[in-house]
């Protein structure tokens, strides 16, 4: 397999883009990534997206976006892995280059959520869960997260307020990210007082509904240009777990997150302590905690204790959500995995501005779909 490098990254701001549709958002991110790479064409396009069919009435996003971005007749497909779609698209682009099939490919994560009204969107998001055994019984995506959080609190003795550091850190970092949706800092008191949407989950536990697209251009070593500032993809790994929460032998171990991270560390030769920062899938604070434990940054049930000591804040042992994360940058579901990698590449190139992690050389990103039924983990190296 060939080494694969990220040579271009682009994104749209995350927010409510009433005047922009799927084609506009996708083309903007793709063209920004191509401009960053100094390129005008690619061999292939992989579009990570979850809700195009359920919410926007638009599938076949490969052709739609290749057309909109002026990339015809490049090979192009949609890659769908629920909330991990963006990470999965980057994985597939990297795989196509590693395999020697393509020399240059672009992966875009894209989601346009604001075209749906609330109960439509709630039902659309529930398609990531088990349709026959969760969604058909009225389990919303938030409710499934609440089942995880309630059990975590029961087993560890944690209080709701103990999850605050993740949200507070994300909002503080988003304040300096011009592309972030929520640029206002919040306090632990704000977190504790936020209204509950599906108890014990409150508004400030959860990432917002929004639109956005982010893209990366990847290429083989042979295709690198002297003008490009390349970031190596040291590992790209996906793994799966039971589609329903009920099937998990240990509810509080995200098996796909654990297995994909373990394989990524083994393949790259890096260990958790080598990571200068971690872009986690902080769609809900409970998922952040479980992802940290699955990846080896905290023993089972200990993530909140480490967070209380500032371990995951800026300047801590493993800074988290360095540009705001899903929580505050925003979570356009199928795009988030690509945003993580765009932000990690910026950190590794020393371009993260006020959020720069000093001397960052190794980054871990993890994109999780369907409450851990699928996880895509990337290790990147400057």
């Amino acid at each position: 397999m060939r080494d694969v490098f990220i040579v271009g990254a682009g994104q749209t701001p995350v927010g409510e883009h009433w005047h922009l549709g799927l084609r506009d958002l996708g083309a903007a991110a793709i063209r920004a990534a191509l401009a960053d790479a100094g390129l005008n064409a690619v061999d292939a396009l992989f579009a990570g997206n979850m809700l195009g069919g359920a919410v926007n009435g638009q599938e076949n996003l490969g052709a739609l976006l290749a057309d909109a971005a002026g990339l015809l007749p490049a090979e192009a497909f949609k890659v769908e892995a629920a909330c991990a779609s963006g990470g999965a698209a980057v994985r597939m682009a990297a795989l196509s280059v590693a395999a020697g099939v393509h020399d240059v490919a672009v992966a875009v994560g894209i989601e346009k959520m604001t075209d749906a009204v609330a109960d439509q969107l709630t039902a659309g998001l529930a398609t990531a869960s088990d349709g026959d055994y969760e969604a058909s019984h009225g389990l919303s995506f938030v409710a499934l997260s609440a089942l995880l959080m309630r059990r975590y609190m029961h087993e560890t003795g944690a209080a709701r307020e103990d999850f605050a550091p993740f949200a507070v850190n994300a909002h503080r970092n988003a304040a300096a990210n011009a592309n972030a949706m929520f640029r206002e800092p919040i306090s632990a008191e704000d977190f504790a007082g936020s209204p509950q949407v599906a108890a014990p989950i409150g508004v400030l536990d959860a990432a917002p509904v929004c639109d956005g697209a982010a893209a990366v251009v990847v290429c083989a070593r042979e295709a690198l240009l002297p003008s490009q500032r390349a970031v190596r993809i040291a590992a790209a790994v996906a793994a799966t777990d039971t589609i329903g929460l009920a099937g998990r032998a240990d509810l509080l171990t995200l098996g796909a997150a654990r297995d994909s991270a373990a394989k990524a560390f083994a393949a790259s030769g890096f260990a958790p302590q080598d990571c200068d920062f971690f872009e986690a899938h902080d769609a809900f604070t409970i998922i952040t905690a479980l992802s940290l434990e699955a990846c080896g940054f905290a023993p089972r049930g200990e993530a909140l204790k480490r967070a209380a000591h500032g371990c995951f804040a800026r300047g801590g042992c493993v800074p988290l959500s360095t540009c705001g994360g899903l929580k505050a940058r925003g979570h356009p579901v199928g795009a988030s995995g690509a945003y993580q990698i765009v932000e990690a590449a910026a950190q590794l190139r020393g371009e993260a501005g006020a959020n720069q992690v000093a001397g960052a050389r190794v980054a871990l990103t993890q994109s999780i779909g369907g409450h851990g039924s699928i996880a895509v983990t990337h290790l990147l190296e400057a």
């Binding site: 359920a54 058909s136 009225g138 389990l139 409710a143 309630r150 949407v197 929460l245 009920a246």
Partner: protein, 138 residues
């Protein structure tokens, strides 16, 4: 959500929805709910129907305030640990939300899950409630 072909969809789910019927692996004896074509424990492909007792305890729970399309909240949902050792996701019914706690005994009951519009059909399936015998005794 597409609904035109929902009728055969829920018809083929009758055994698990009405009788809490899953599968038992003939090779290693592992129990599965929902049914699986191959055993995730031993990867064996010979399975047989297995009807669960419907008795269990609440393993975790939550309240759905903002209901998905086709449902009207608020209602309680739970992960129920069946006495056979496996878990099922379901709504709780006939219960005061304030009384629900982890470890609470529950039993399966057949109830209305969804109504497909005012003139459409009704999807029935399992929910869980505090055991009738226990409530009558108290």
């Amino acid at each position: 959500m597409p609904e035109a072909m929902d009728l055969p969809r829920y018809h083929r789910l009758t055994a698990p929805y009405y009788r809490l019927e899953g599968r038992r692996c003939r090779r290693c004896g592992a129990l599965h709910f929902p049914p699986r074509a191959a055993c995730g424990t031993c990867r064996g492909q010979e399975t047989e129907p297995y009807r669960f007792s419907g008795r269990g305890t609440v393993f975790s729970f939550a309240e759905v305030a903002q209901a998905p399309q086709g449902f009207s909240g608020p209602y309680m949902v739970a992960l129920v640990e069946l006495e056979e050792g496996i878990r099922v996701t379901a709504q709780l019914t006939d219960v005061d939300p304030e009384e629900v706690e982890i470890g609470m005994p529950v039993e399966m009951v057949t109830r209305r899950l969804q109504e497909k519009g005012p003139h459409g059909y009704i999807v029935y399936g399992f929910k869980f409630r505090p055991p009738l015998a226990r409530r009558q005794a108290s």
